[in-house]
């Protein structure tokens, strides 16, 4: 498969680097579907006669596989380049939908676990990291902006998949006009087949559009000395193997874990939480289900916008500083939310919006943070290993919130005070993350790859 090899993707002179972000977005917009599974969750519960938890396991497997495959395959992605990685991701992601649809048509839930969860999850992990290091190399002058654009797509993918899936389910199910309608399993199976075809086409467009810069390429007017002027930014390189031996990697891991856990705490409970916060003494909430759904939509916009806006801002402020804002200001906002969030809905909504924008910003900024600390040599592989923090937070966040809420009472009886223990626990986590980020210093020279100008072994070949 020579046409997928990295050597075949080296950009000719005059290639416009602004073609790379849409190629990356094409992949991230597709895999972002992972956050739109709620559209057919109830349909699958009825089709399989399973519990919500059993159906929820499909998504959990996919997220765990995302973290594992990103960690395990990161070095392979760096070595083989973005085209082969995006192509593989497209095959796994579309293959996951195909196998999943077979599971739905034949009523075998284990096939959906295997298809969407395991196979699709591998596609998620490879796809998520595949364009990141390439973007960083094309935009050495604005790495935060570049990765923000791509990772924004992961947030935006759900915004597209959700209404499109709803419309397709209605089109595929002849009973869609009935009162209290829930889509049939057959309609969900056909939806999976459609998504497989559409996502495969879009991701292949990304794979065949992306190119890597030639060795030594620099954008016009770019002066690396200016980048180096920032204290934490290195022009050295650290391998993925060595990076995980540095305290910096684990400090950033803790910072990301704390930021994601705190964000998931709100995201997971968004709709019932706003209703509980404004529940009157008679047990009736002042917030209707439609308004709560609007709130969830607003959080999705905040999540997506934060990925782009905060990550782009980090090019000006520096990565460590912006993480101080995510974690430090985030802790303050979370405290206000816990203690005074029930005062007015405007205050509650504004606080949650900013907190979720910090959650998204943390994801989008971290590849550039890793570039600053470890150089570009194997930044994709290092990023892949760091994403295990996301998997861990995906388990810890809901566990913390649900454990506290279970102890406070039953759903429908909770109020603002019931959420205080969970929210204040998140504040403590954010403080831990803030301190971890505060401790990040430049990586010790003993971890750097050797360079020929120092009379040691050769400089590592640039991988993308």
């Amino acid at each position: 498969m020579g046409w997928l090899d990295r050597e075949r993707t080296i950009a000719p002179p005059g290639f416009n680097r602004w073609l790379v972000p849409p190629a990356a977005l094409a992949v991230h917009l597709c895999i972002g579907q992972a956050y739109a599974t709620s559209v057919y969750k109830t349909a699958l519960v009825e089709h399989f006669g399973a519990s919500l938890t059993e159906i929820g396991v499909i998504f959990s497997i996919a997220i765990v596989m995302l973290g594992l495959s990103a960690a395990v395959m990161g070095t392979w992605v760096d070595r083989n380049g973005p085209r082969k990685a995006m192509f593989s991701s497209a095959v796994f992601w579309a293959g996951g939908f195909l196998v999943g649809s077979m599971g739905i048509f034949t009523q075998q839930l284990w096939l959906v676990y295997l298809g969407y969860g395991v196979v699709g999850g591998i596609g998620l992990g490879i796809g998520y990291i595949s364009p990141v290091s390439t973007l960083i190399k094309w935009f050495p002058d604005r790495p935060g902006l570049a990765t923000g654009m791509a990772i924004m797509g992961f947030g935006g993918g759900a915004l597209i998949a959700s209404p499109v899936s709803t419309a397709l389910l209605k089109a595929y199910d002849p009973n869609s006009g009935a009162e209290g309608w829930v889509a049939s399993g057959d309609a969900v199976g056909r939806l999976f087949l459609t998504l497989a075809v559409v996502y495969l086409a879009y991701m292949l467009f990304g794979a065949f559009t992306i190119k890597v810069p030639a060795d030594g390429w620099r954008p016009a007017g770019f002066d690396p000395a200016k980048v180096k002027a920032a204290k934490l930014v290195t022009t050295e390189n650290v391998s993925a193997k060595n990076a995980v031996r540095t305290p910096q990697f684990w400090l950033v891991w803790v910072a990301l874990f704390c930021n994601v856990t705190a964000g998931i705490g709100i995201l997971e409970q968004a709709a019932p939480m706003i209703q509980d916060f404004f529940r009157a003494s008679d047990g009736v909430s002042a917030v209707s289900a439609a308004v709560a759904a609007g709130f969830v939509g607003l959080l999705s916009i905040g999540n997506m916008a934060g990925r782009f806006a905060w990550s782009a801002t980090s090019d000006v402020t520096g990565r460590k500083w912006i993480y101080m804002v995510y974690l430090g200001v985030g802790a303050v906002l979370y405290t206000v939310l816990a203690l005074a969030g029930s005062a007015t809905t405007v205050l509650y909504v504004a606080l949650a919006f900013v907190i979720i924008s910090f959650y998204g910003g943390g994801f989008a900024t971290v590849p550039a943070y890793l570039r600053d600390l470890f150089g570009t040599f194997q930044v994709g592989a290092i990023h892949g290993r760091l994403l295990t923090a996301w998997s861990a937070a995906g388990v810890a966040g809901p566990l913390i919130v649900n454990a506290f809420l279970d102890a406070q009472g039953k759903p429908g009886q909770l109020d603002a005070a019931s959420y205080q223990p969970a929210l204040l626990t998140m504040v403590a986590l954010l403080v831990v993350g803030f301190l971890a980020n505060l401790m990040v210093k430049p990586v010790d020279a003993r971890f750097h790859e050797s360079r020929p100008d120092r009379g040691r072994a050769h400089e590592p070949a640039m991988e993308a």
């Binding site: 597209i160 939509g297 909504v349």
Partner: protein
């Protein structure tokens, strides 16, 4: 020869601009649709 070179450069720039517009439209149009659909839901929050 200089004129031929200029024409060649202009043709490449036009092709590049066309490719760029198509590439951004392919990702931008669905994203704009998704944002619009979400904002119509968000309207209930302020209604």
């Amino acid at each position: 020869m200089s004129t031929a070179h200029t024409h060649g450069t202009q043709a490449r720039t036009k092709a590049s601009a066309g490719k760029l517009a198509i590439a951004w439209a392919l990702v931008g149009v669905p994203l704009a649709y998704g944002i619009f659909q979400t904002l119509t839901r968000v309207a209930a929050l302020f209604g």
